[in-house]
């Protein structure tokens, strides 16, 4: 563990990313105390520029506090990013493990299925799914998961293919362990590091995807999100630039920090790869 941290620290960008990410997480966790009350309520006069009348980031067309919207939006973004990644991971790991471990025609079928999902325009499918199942936090998470599992399946399959023939797996087979316990107990733990790196990048792209959906008006109507803030600022950008600029900066910083953390994790978990680069 100490070794891991030492290697992680060597990547300066990753350390900065981690700090930013922690700040965003703290902001999300403390939003109800930092900005008590609903972010949908009127806080001051409409269209106040940043800094005026104690409104740090200004107010929107209905006098709502933009800063409060961003803090509360962080909760939704992180939550959607994390949950949809967990769901996508469970789909991708299951399919990838089945394909890689069983091989043969099962592998063929699963990989054709994966390819299909990689070919179709995934964003259009996500829009369609959320629109048809009506925008709720569940349909948004589901749609994001449905379009983001294929890379996981590919990575896991490749790992399983290469691990399946190793001695420790053969030993487990000879010992008479069941297939399920070999897959879960012997192969999967050894395939974890690429999955962890991929997961951090997936949270980042899930946050981008969620913001795009809610920008188009497909967010959960009861939840304040960054994409919604930008979407509502779009038509009044000539009047109030701050309405669309600040939420975008929040998305940028969060996603950038996740990508940097992903790079750091990759360096720390694959020390050989990091050194040769």
């Amino acid at each position: 563990m100490r070794d891991f941290w030492r290697r992680y620290r060597r990547n300066k960008g990753a350390v900065v990313g981690l700090v930013v990410l922690v700040v965003v997480i703290i902001m999300a966790a403390t939003a109800p105390w930092l900005f008590p009350g609903s972010p949908w309520d009127m806080a001051s006069a409409p269209f106040l520029p940043p800094g005026e009348m104690d409104m740090l980031l200004g107010t929107d067309s209905l006098g709502r506090d933009v800063a409060a919207g961003i803090a509360h939006g962080a909760r939704v973004s992180l939550l959607v990013g994390a949950i949809s990644t967990v769901v996508a991971l469970s789909i991708g790991v299951t399919l990838g493990a089945i394909a890689g471990y069983l091989g043969g025609w099962v592998d063929d079928v699963v990989m054709r299925f994966t390819e299909f999902f990689q070919t179709i325009p995934s964003f259009v499918l996500a829009i369609l799914l959320v629109a048809i199942f009506t925008p709720t936090i569940r349909s948004v998470v589901g749609a994001i998961a449905v379009v983001s599992w294929p890379p996981v399946a590919r990575v896991v399959r490749a790992e399983f293919l290469s691990l399946r023939g190793r001695e420790f797996v053969q030993a487990a087979e000879v010992l008479g362990k069941s297939r399920l316990s070999i897959v879960l107990g012997d192969i999967l733990p050894n395939a974890l590091s690429p999955i962890i790196v991929l997961a951090s990048l997936m949270v980042a792209s899930a946050i981008l995807l969620e913001s795009a959906l809610s920008f188009l008006g497909l967010g959960d109507p009861n939840l304040m999100t960054w994409g919604f803030l930008i979407g509502s600022g779009r038509s009044v950008i000539r009047l109030a630039w701050w309405m669309s600029v600040f939420p975008g900066v929040a998305i940028f910083l969060t996603v950038l920090s996740l990508n940097l953390v992903g790079e750091g994790l990759s360096d720390a978990l694959n020390p050989r790869l990091a050194r040769t680069r």
Partner: protein
């Protein structure tokens, strides 16, 4: 690849493409049926509010009282004969609606793609030749930035800077309203409107292609055939162009194929921001009205575009790289 083997290769790819398109149609069918509520009212696009006569007509047309597999067959048959349904809201066939909007989208995605490939490959080649210099750092910064920025926000920021503050470029539409421009003036007018949306859509891919070109060029530069060329006294510029760059283009082609779907998906966001009158904008309007036949049609149509684009990159790849296996 030997030209003699090309027809077989193409035939196999065509079969695959047809299967993918069929799978998409089936996917659409199940989406309609998975939706909460009556499939007829989903297809009418007005859950609960459609007039009963129209619903009855839809029920008969799609055989909604028949068993599932018969319904599927009717649906597949009608989509494959390019009957994508009827938009009750727009009082127009979905296929006609899409056909009307398609040219604008093709222009936008085509321009963005060309910008990304030309800019990305140039920047990548520059960076590979001068590792650690400005082009190199620029690529790293560009890539980090555009991997983390929502596409629609990039568009809004470009509007803010170039339309609102500097007032250089128009921020929405495809041409100036009411001027009635013709000929060259019209082309220039469209080009002016195209600039910001194409930039928005293309910048992310520019960063991707630049990184890719740089990485492969660095890899190819050290290979034996390049050393041989150098030893033979081939001028350095020619080595870069004819030997290194040519090989470095292959992964760019591969990636372009893989990302075609993303590019088309991104155009929905960009067209929404810039009110560009293409199928992305159509999808957004359909979204606001919950006009499902149009949404399903857009999904089908964009998927077909992606499949066709993949077919084209496969062909291009086979022609450029003699090593591609025909298997």
């Amino acid at each position: 690849m030997e030209l003699g083997k090309l027809p077989g290769f193409l035939a196999r790819r065509l079969v695959k493409a047809v299967l993918v398109v069929l799978a998409i149609v089936v996917c659409n069918f199940f989406l309609v049926h998975a939706a909460p509520g009556d499939p007829a009212s989903v297809m009418a696009g007005q859950a609960g509010a459609a007039d009963p006569l129209f619903l009855e007509q839809l029920r008969r047309q799609f055989g909604l009282d028949q068993p599932m597999h018969v319904q599927l067959w009717i649906y597949v048959r009608s989509v494959l004969s390019l009957d994508l349904g009827f938009s009750h809201r727009q009082q127009m066939g979905v296929a006609a609606l899409i056909a009307e909007r398609l040219p604008a989208t093709l222009l936008l995605t085509g321009a963005a793609f060309a910008f990304a490939v030309v800019g990305g490959v140039t920047l990548g080649a520059l960076a590979a030749q001068r590792v650690g210099r400005w082009a190199d750092s620029l690529i790293t910064v560009l890539a980090l930035t555009f991997y983390a920025t929502p596409l629609f926000w990039v568009g809004l920021m470009l509007v803010l800077v170039f339309s609102v503050w500097l007032e250089w470029l128009p921020s929405f539409g495809m041409n100036s309203v009411g001027l009635g421009l013709t000929g060259l003036a019209h082309v220039l007018d469209v080009a002016k409107h195209l600039l910001l949306p194409a930039l928005t859509l293309g910048l992310f891919y520019l960063a991707v292609y630049a990184r890719l070109t740089r990485a492969t060029m660095l890899e190819v530069q050290d290979q034996d055939f390049v050393r041989t060329a150098r030893a033979k006294g081939v001028p350095e510029g020619r080595i870069t162009r004819a030997h290194v760059l040519r090989n470095a283009l292959l992964p760019v082609i591969t990636f372009a194929g893989i990302q075609a779907g993303q590019l088309v998906g991104g155009s929905i966001l960009v067209e929404t921001v810039f009110a560009w009158p293409g199928i992305g904008r159509l999808a957004f309007e359909a979204l606001l009205a919950r006009d499902y036949p149009v949404l399903l049609g857009v999904f089908f149509c964009t998927s077909v575009i992606v499949v066709l684009f993949n077919l084209a990159t496969d062909l291009l790849y086979a022609l450029v790289d003699p090593r591609v296996e025909v298997a």
